[in-house]
Each structure stands twice: as C-alpha cells, then as structure tokens.
Subunit: 729 residues, 2 copies
C-alpha cells in the first residue's frame, strides 16, 4: 500500500503522509471523516462497482485534474484479496455507496392474472348462495369478536352464537324437513366449512350439538327417537352430547368399559361407569350445557356381552341440575377451543327406559332377547361407526377454512411487510424473498388441492352405494389425517412467517393454530387413521393379487400404472425438460407408481415376516412406518387426481391457468418431498430431482405475484379475518 | 360350499340342512349363536391358526368322534380365497379366537441399561451443585403452579417469582462481585436453563430484567452506569427494559428510526419516536413494571447521523407513573408468555442528560463532538450487538429445557398408556409401537445432541479470544435457529403423541409449546439467522479459496473431508454393513462432506449468477434456500462433533454405551432426513439409504427400553413437571 502511494507522482507530500497515517490502526480516519468521504463518493455517482478497488479508481478519475493514477494489475489483485480478507463477499461493499438501487427482487409485486371473483365462483361451486348467506350472518354485529379473558365468558358467548345460528336454521340443515330441516347434508358441510372462518370454538360447539349429538340420534336411532328429539336438537332447545371416548379408550374405542345392563323386570337399562378411567372424557357440551347424551356402552343381557351399543341418557334438567347418578367434571383449560365446555362424565346406576336404546342396528325385544340384523358384535359396531363418518369430513373441511384464514393473513402481511433490501435501495416486501415464497406458496397450492379433494370426498360420501362403504370410510379417514396434519403444519408456518406479529392474539393466528391443533387427534388419531387406510389398501391389494408373488405383482403394477415402467427408461429418469416436468401425466404417473410400489412392498414385507413365523401383530408393527406411507401415498394420488380434474374442467381461461400452476406446484413439491424415495427406486436420477427443485422455486416465484389474489378468491370477509396485519394501515 | 357339505358322509341330514340354511344371507346365524360358537372354539384352544379354514378343520377334529373330514386341497384354497374376499388379511381372523396372546410387541418394556443418576451427572457436569440449588428453590411451596385466568394475575405472579429469584441472588449471578454478583456468566446460563423447567413467562421476565436490561448496562455502559444501576437491577429494585425492536424494524434492526438528538446548549439528548410504526414494540417489562429502558436510537449531532447507539431513558417512576413524553401501549394477549408484560413505547421529546448515553463504544465529548474507537457506524453497531450475543445462547438453552420437559411427559405417558393389542391379548403401551418410537426417539436423541452442543457454544462464548468473535456469533446464531426450530417441532410432536391428554392445560404441553413458540422469532428470526450463518461460512470459504474454480474447490473438498472422496467408491456408497452404518467416522465424514459440498456449490452458484450480470442482492435471493442449507449443514456437523466427543469422554461404561446409541440415532436420523441429497450426489445408493432407514427403526426399538431412564436423567423434579399424565395414577 505504501509502495503504491509512493508511485503516484501527483500526490503532494502532505497528502501522502495523511494516507500513510491512515494505514496505522491507531490513527485511522474518524467517524466524521468517513462520513464526509461517503458524501463525496455518493456525489460522483460511481458506476458498475465490482469491488472497492474499482471504486477507488473512479474516485481518483473524478478528482484527477489531469493527473493519472498509476496502479498495476498485480496491485489491483492485491487490493481485491485484501477486500476478501475483510470479509466482504461479492460486490456488496460497493453498493453501500449507491444512493438508489433497484433489483429484480425489489421490483416483484402483486398483480392478479385472473379475476378473484371468478376464481371464488370456481371454489364455491353450486353452494355459492348458501356460503354467501352464512357469511352474511357471520358479519352481523352480534358475531363481532370479543377477547374474553374468562373461560366462562367465552363459553357463554359461544353458546349465544350457536343459538343465533340455530335460529337461522343452520343447525337442522341436514335433518329431514319434517323435523324443521332442509334435508341437505351437503349444505350442512358447507355451513361448517364457512362458519370455520369465524371462531372455531363456535364451530366445534355447533358440530357437537348438530353433527355429533343430532346425527347420532338421526343415524343410530329410529322414528321414535327422531320424533322425540330431532326438532329440539335443531333449535338448540335440547343441548346434548356424544359420549363415546373414555379415559382409557380413545383410539381403541371398541374397548370401552361403560356398561348398559338390561333389567328384565322393569324393561330398563342401568348405565354404569365401572371405574374412574372408564369415565367418558373430553365430551363437548358436557361440562355445562348438555341435557342428554348419546352414550356408547357395552350391552349386557343376562351376563352376556353384546358389544358396544348406544343409548340416550339424561345428564341434567333444563335448570342445569344433574340427574341423580350422573357425575360431571370439567376438563378445565385447554390449549384451544376454550369456548367449548368439555367434561368428564361418570354414571352411577343411572336407569333409563328401554326406549332409550338407539335401536337402528340392534334392539332388545319385548322378551328381553337381543335382536340385530348384524350378528357379529364387531361388524355391528363398525357399521354404527360407519354412519358417523361425516365427522371425518367436517373436521378437515373446517381445518382447511382455518388454514385459508391463516394463509390469507400471512400472505397479505408478507406482501406489505418490508425488511432489508439492496444497499441504498428501499426495503423489499418479505414475500419477495425466495425463502418466504418457499414457506408459503406450496401451502397455498396444497390448500387449493385439498379444497377440491374434500369436495370430492363429500360428494362420494353423499352419493355412496352400499358396497362403496369401506372405500369411502378409508378415504374419509385418510383425508381427515392428511388434511388436519396439513392444517397444523400450515398454521405453524404462518405463525413463524409473520414473526412477532403472529404471536399477538389480535392477529388471530395463535387461535387458529391452537384451536385446530386437536383436529389431528379427534375423530380419530391421525396415525391410527392412516393405518386404517393402509389396512384397507392392503386388503384391496390382496383381493386383486390373490396369492402374492413377484411376477404377479410386477404384472399388476405394469397394468395399473401403465406408463410407469416404460418411464423408468434411462432417458426419462434423467429428463429435465421443462415441458415434461410440468406435465400432468408425468405427475400423476409418478404418484401412482409410488402408491402402488409402496402398497406392494408393504404387503410383501408383512407376508414375508409372517411366513417366517412372526406373529402378524408384530409383523404389522414392524412395518408400521411403512403402512403410514401406504395411506399417505394413496391419499396424495387421490388429491392430485381431483386437482387435475378440477383444472381441466375449469372454464375461465385465466382461472384455469392459475389453477394449473398451483396444481403443478402441488405435484412437484410433493415429489420433491419424496425425492429420497424416487431416487432410491431409480424412478428418477439426481439431475431430475435437482431440476424439480429448481422448478418448484420457479413456480413459487411466479405464483407469488398471484398470491394475494389467490387468497382473495377464498372470499373470507374482512370482518372475520379481523387480523390488523392483514390490512393496510 | 354346498358341494362340500354333501361330501361329508358323517353329517346327518338335519345338520346339513342347518348348514345350508346359514349360507342364506337372510337366515344367517344370530348373535347368540355366534357367541356360543365362539365359546366352543375357545374351549378347544386351537393351535397355529393360519386362517379360518385351518380353524374349521381343527374344530371338526376336536368334535369328530371318529368321523373323518373330507376336504380337498382345492376346496381349502377356495375357502382361503373366500376369506380374502371377506377382507381379512393374514391370520388376524384366527386370533380372535385365542384367549390370550402374547407378542414381541406386547413384551417390550422399560428397563434401564444404566444408572440415571450417573447419567444426570454426565449431563450436569461441573454445574451440578448450582443446578440442584436452583431446583431446591423452584420446588419450594412459593413456586407452586397456579392457573391464573386473568393476565393481570399471571403477570403479578411472575413478578413475584422474579423477586424471589432475585432475593436468592440469581439475578446478579453474572454481575461483578462489587455489584452484588458472582461474576459467573456460565452460572447465569445454567440458572436460565434450570429455571426453564418451570414457568417460561418467569424465565423470560427474568431474562429481560437481568439478561437484556442488566447486560446492556454492563456491556454497553461504563463505570458510571455500572455504579449507578447494576446493583439495583440485580435486586430487581430497578425493573427495566431492552428497547431495540421497532414495529417497522425487527430483523433489520439497523434500520430503526427512533432518534436521539444532541442538544449542545444544555448537553442533553432528546429521544423521539418519529411515527407510530417506529415505536419500540414487543418490549418486555414495558407494559407494567419497567422504570427505565436501554433505548436504541440513531444519534444525531448537528443534523449528522452517527448510527444506532444506546441510551438509558426513564419510563415511569417508582409509583408507576409514566415519565412525561413517554407513551406506552400494552401488547395485549399473546399466544404464550402471557406472564410477561410486553408493550409498545413511544417517546415524544423525552430529554435525558448526556450521561444517559451508554458510552462503551461511542460518546459525545464535552465540545459536542462524536467520539468512537470504531469509526464505521455499521461496524460499531455490530460490535455492540456482538456483546449481546448471550441472548442467543440463553434462548436455545431455555428451549431445550422445555423440550426435555415435554419429552419426559410424552415418553412417560407413552410408556404407561395402553391402546390396542394383539387379539385376545392385553393392550400394549403405545411406546411399543414403532411409529410412536419413530416419533419420539429421534427427538430424545437430538435433545441429548443439543445438550452437549449448547454447552460447547457456551464455553466457546465465555472463553473467546478477540479474533474468534465472528465465528462465535455465527455459531450462536446458527445454534439458536437450529435449537429453537427443534423445540417447536419436538413440542408439537409431543402434543400429538399424547393425543387429547396433551390438549388439556393441566398436562403443561400446551404451555410449553405456546410459550416457546416465539423462540424461533426472538433474538433474531431463525431464517434470517441461518442466512447470517451462511454468509459467515461463505466468507470463510472464500477466504480459504481465494479465486474460486472447480479444481481448487475439488482439492479443497478432498483435503478437508479426506476420506469422503475415497468413500465415494462403488463399494462404500452401497455398503449396508451394520458396523459401517453405526461407525462414528462414517457419520462425521458424511456430515462434513455435505457441509462442504453445499457451501462450495452455494458459493459457485452465486458467483456464476453475479458473473452473468445479476445484481448480487438478486443472486443471494435466488440462492436463499440453498443458503439456509449452508447454515443448517454447518450446525449439524458441529452438533455431531460435540456429541461424539461427549460420548468418547464419558467414563461410565453403561452411560457411554447409552449415549453412543443416541449419538448413532441422531446421526443416522439426520442422514435419513437428508437422504435425497446424498442420493442426488451419488454419495450413497438406494440400498444404503434403505439400510439406514432400517437401522433407525432398530435403534428406536432398542432405545425405547432406556427411554424412561433417559428422561429421568434430565433430572426434572416432579413438582416442576407437574403433568398428571407423567405419573402413575
């Protein structure tokens, strides 16, 4: 450095001395001097700054007054090396001196490639009017949110809201017209889904009353029960509970221990809780408001156990006084849903009349004999449960609405919140950052995917023929697990993506997350449900396969997945062609291939273990992780199929194009998440999975521009969204 | 079926008729008949039931009275096919008739291979006495948990607890002895960590007062400030705040807008909030108790901006009355930490004396000139921040304690909660299920890994030399992100793994999760921090590399990772040998290879984009996802290194063996999570990644037996754990 200073003939002695002095760490320039230089540098507006050396050269040139700078290439290199030693990478140092600085990242902004209103029509479909009606109800002043500190106040508020909803006729919507309803089950699901843009305690209380309590009377009871109860349930005059789960038996509900013992002499049943851990637990409406409950109990006649049946049992009278023999304990504060009064119920010799048995599938005749069209206790129990599968549709639909609220808030905030930016330039909306896009865009795509898939599930459920029962039950179980896991994951991501703002309750993400957190547990633990799906897939597979061996499996896979095997040729496994990567057929084939290969290998694996002498219970346990993947891959294939179909049947070209991109992102992001598996199988090579990663990044970048519009299309009213960070100041 | 019946010469006509009748779906056997058959079947105790046909044959044999069953192989096959059609897979149907049924899965149980007390000594290390002292304090009756419905009551309780802690001398532990402290910074971290087994609002309030407010006075102030404040801070006589973050500037804190303007005439500063969005936000202790605050503001002298500096500003007097010009708004209810009184602060012409400036790194002299030993505003600011890096150590350590509490609760519950089981057998502890093990065991292993890594980080921080500053800051940033993301993930998993029970607040998992959820955000957003780590790694890399090109990078990688490249031979990439898979050296080499390959490719990628003319801000954005992986892979390597070292230096053989298994699980599970990357790189082939998956399953199965003991070794007192599900009834 000193040599270089000496080499400049035009430098005066004093100037050279000052420069040399600055090289001494104890006599470095002061803060004031640094500032004045910075001002001078900004004044000359340096161009194309690659590093500090080029800056220095330009500075000299601007002030040279005819003098010539003498600096060799070698010296320039030495300076650049010094710059690296200072810890400066790339050309960032130079940017500090530019007074304005625009970049591709800064310039990206929201612009809608389609009309959000038209997209909303695509999403709402035939239920658009009902959805609007429910939104109109919810945006009335009575439904304004209040922060209630006390749980008692929350519960009172939620009860009040449910009464208002009942008054509008929403509670009885699915019931037959003769009991005040509209006989519109699809409408009921739509109502649940739309209500879920509002407080979720209200939704769950609503679901407990009209869905669980009401539907158990409707589906498990007969005419006499319908006549007696349905109308009053629909108006909320008769609040009730659905009392199935016990402390010791949640997932394995077939093992519940409450008994209903038939008394021949007076034709009654005695309902009994045998011990504290056989109390009904987590029962919504039980702690405060429920007057009656559908209670699941083992029916005992003359000492013989006829399996689990259901009974209407009184809990308390209209004044709220407990029925003799009924003991209730409040579940107390919970992670969320504190507006719902969950409780524990114990029955001590509670006697109910014979008519209290819900006798659609089984009854006790006048002579005290058990009668049922379904002889097997097991089969009868699962048939009863099968009628209640609607809960597994309502829950993921409710969860998806909460997810849509969370994503709308997070995406709108990401679009307006600015942080960091190029040196000298303005701060950039955080949604322009690739990581932020990667966090939120795949979730947005998956929300759309699930929207269509859950609609499909609902339609299948509502139009199912008798022999489709098992398939629909498995589909509902799987969609419930897949959907609610997604809700938890997505809302957690929204929380983190909005930083401290999402930690404040006023922005609602905390409530959305905490209220839906139990969705992964109720209506069946997700891990258990996925195994149920897997078992159904294995059964289906075994039925198709008969005796399993490698040749038949190979043939089976070839037949079913058709192009999959031909795709596994050296060119396709390495293909990084954009058209191929975005191709719907490639996506669906890859999903199908995975689904089938996993079910086949799981089946073979369990069979091999059993053939080698392992107990089948152990063998299934060994393969448990594998089985969850069986369920997961089946559901993913179904979801993709429905999303692709929705894209293909969308009329409006702009909406179709936007949906197509989301569908591609859903498919490729899912493939990316499973890339380890595809690479293991040789279905793809590294070049291809890397190309998929890049394509995911690219799609995130493109979809980001439509992102706000894509959340607008969810059509969530501002009053319900309510989070200050989702709105401009 | 009918043919078969006819083929049995020993069947009487009426018997054959009854059988034929059962084949008619309308005349199938009744529930009562089914039950009596089941009793008969159980009476003969059938053996080796593979399917229903073998059961039938055994039944006939047991009752044959000399008759012989005539059934051809073909008929047997037909029966089995019918069984498949019924949807029964494997031999499950047959099990229904066994009256007891034990399996490997049922028999697995907890047994400790080591003495948990000795393991606790390994974990607690030299601070074992202080840890015990803090636990003794926390288990006093005054620290019993209470459910406070009102936020005001929670806050009052937390303040009360903090006063008790101050009385014990914990608050001033890190302060010099002359100000009532013990001059033991390591002890302070240990205290924070141990307190975190208790209520986390208390921990954060404690951290705000003694860590943020106290340490800012200690590290940014000089003797006069220490004399004036430190003692009163340590006793909690002077509650205070750390006011850095503003609404518009959280992560990009360098951009804060509050100003401190120097007034020459009376040698004072005027503190001013320029607009609503420049208010200090989320400030702990601000809403209620803070009397003074360390305020970060841009220092303005004669219109010149000297960058961000810090000042002691009064907020309210001892009676709680606000100082003139100070406006405070309560942040209101939050997702968690509601015992901490966070607030927003605005300053309207608040005048403070010249001595109010914390002048360790910069000051204004008597003539009103700015003075600093660090001329660059930027460098000065980051130097100031560097002294406060302790927060990034305290937070992940606090998070890890919360995680340990959650895992202790979830693992103990999993060990006692029984659900499902083999037909005819007892229900099985859910921790015996492979999925449950897969959910919890890797988290347990990672907790141990982080324990040693955070201890290492603390020691590095406490013993750092001047030129290690940047390295330690990056390490702390990365460990904070890695650790707190893990806390969020692990506690979410604990919530789901305990089902409905974890949704009840009494079991504490909800509070653990919600209170720590913001850890991923505060002391720096994790995603931003990981990029900071990446930048530091890239700088380091560039420094080592000089001018980047493929040959030098290759040489670099070969040199650094030594065996990695030789490992990439066809035998090693496919090796599934158990010894190899469990080998520490294999693990560490694979981690190192990943770390280096990712930093090299990220560097090359950004350089290529910049060389092609892209703005470096855009180039860094394009590679943002890549950069997060740079940070992640660096931290993972550091964590594994420290865990391996901890294993190797453990004396007790039984503890060493248990730790070794955990270390292997941490390594293999991390490799499994990144298997897509290793397969893409050709570092491993599919056979090997599949073998790793199996080994992870195997290790989970083995560690499960030690799992309860491994959580006992955390040494969390029962009174602090407090969750009813963690204890036997």
């Amino acid at each position: 450095m000193k040599k270089l200073i000496k080499a400049q003939p035009w430098l005066k002695k004093e100037e050279a001395d000052i420069l040399e002095q600055y090289l001494n760490p104890n006599q470095k320039p002061t803060a004031q001097e640094l500032k004045s230089w910075k001002n001078q540098i900004q004044f000359i507006k340096p161009q194309n700054l690659k590093n500090l050396t080029t800056l220095g050269i330009q500075l000299v040139k601007a002030n040279q007054n005819g003098h010539e700078l003498k600096i060799s290439e070698k010296d320039q290199e030495a300076f650049q090396k010094a710059e690296t030693e200072l810890g400066l990478i790339f050309n960032e140092a130079a940017y500090r001196f530019e007074d304005s600085h625009s970049t591709i990242t800064s310039e990206q902004q929201s612009k809608s490639s389609f009309d959000p209103k038209l997209m909303q029509e695509v999403l709402d479909g035939s239920k658009i009017e009902l959805i609007q009606k429910v939104k109109n109800t919810l945006t009335k002043p009575e439904f304004a949110y209040h922060q209630h500190e006390k749980i008692a106040d929350q519960r009172a508020q939620v009860l009040e809201w449910c009464k208002l909803l009942a008054k509008e006729g929403y509670g009885s919507w699915a019931f037959p017209r003769e009991f005040g309803g509209r006989a519109d089950m699809e409408g009921y699901f739509t109502i649940m889904e739309t209500l879920s843009y509002h407080d979720l305690s209200m939704v769950i209380k609503f679901g407990v009353q009209f869905g669980l309590w009401g539907m158990s009377i409707y589906f498990l009871g007969t005419e006499k029960h319908h006549q007696k109860y349905l109308k009053h349930i629909g108006t909320l005059e008769l609040p009730g509970c659905f009392a199935m789960t016990e402390t010791n038996h949640g997932s394995n509900v077939r093992g519940i221990e409450t008994t209903a013992t038939y008394n021949h002499q007076d034709k009654t049943f005695t309902i009994q809780t045998p011990h504290q851990n056989a109390r009904k637990e987590y029962i919504g409406n039980a702690a405060l408001h429920g007057q009656k409950a559908t209670v699941f109990a083992k029916l005992i006649i003359d000492g013989e156990d006829y399996g689990v049946n259901s009974f209407v049992v009184p809990l308390r009278n209209k004044s709220g006084e407990l029925h003799p023999g009924v003991e209730i304990e409040d579940c107390g504060p919970k992670m969320g849903l504190n507006g719902v009064d969950n409780g524990l119920i114990a029955f001590n010799k509670v006697v109910i009349p014979k008519e209290g048995m819900l006798d659609k599938f089984a009854s006790v005749d006048e002579d005290g004999n058990f009668q049922s069209s379904i002889s097997s206790d097991n089969k009868r129990f699962f048939t009863m449960l099968g009628t209640l599968v609607g809960g597994r549709i309502g829950i993921p639909r409710s969860g998806l609405s909460a997810t849509k609220s969370g994503l709308t808030i997070a995406i709108r905030y990401g679009n307006k919140r600015r942080q960091f930016g190029p040196e000298g330039g303005e701060e950039v909306p955080i949604l322009n950052y690739r990581m932020h896009q990667r966090r939120l865009m795949p979730l947005l795509a998956k929300s759309y995917a699930l929207h269509f898939a859950l609609k499909y599930l609902t339609n299948r459920f509502l139009t199912k023929s008798e022999d489709e029962g098992q398939e629909i039950e498995a589909l509902a179980a799987g969609m419930k697990a897949y959907g609610t896991w997604f809700t938890t994951e997505a809302l957690q991501e929204c929380r983190e993506a909005c930083g401290g703002k999402a930690y404040l309750s006023e922005n609602r993400i905390d409530a959305l997350k905490n209220d839906t957190d139990v969705y992964t547990t109720f209506e069946g633990d997700n891990t258990v449900l996925m195994q149920l799906v897997a078992k159904s897939r294995l059964t289906e597979f075994k039925r198709e396969m008969g005796d399993m061996n490698f040749i038949t499996i190979f043939n089976y896979l070839s037949k079913q997945a058709k192009t999959s095997f031909t795709e596994k040729n050296p060119i396709t496994v390495r293909s990084t062609d954009e058209k191929h990567l975005l191709d719907f057929e490639f996506h669906l084939n890859a999903f199908k291939y995975r689904e089938r290969a996993i079910v086949a290998s799981a089946g073979q694996r369990i069979k091999r273990l059993v053939d080698d002498g392992m107990d089948s219970f152990d063998a299934v346990n060994v393969a448990q992780h594998h089985l969850v993947n069986v369920g997961q891959s089946y559901i993913e294939r179904k979801v993709l199929e429905r999303f692709q179909l929705a894209v293909e049947t969308t009329q409006n070209a702009a909406c179709k194009k936007a949906l197509q991109q989301l569908c591609q992102l859903y498919a490729l992001h899912t493939l990316e998440q499973n890339k380890g598996w595809y690479l293991e199988q040789g279905y793809m090579e590294g070049v291809k999975t890397k190309a998929i990663r890049k394509m995911v990044n690219q799609l995130c970048w493109e979809i980001r521009q439509d992102a706000v519009a894509l959340t607008d299309a969810f059509g969530i009213p501002d009053q319900l969204l309510a989070a200050p960070i989702a709105f401009n100041d």
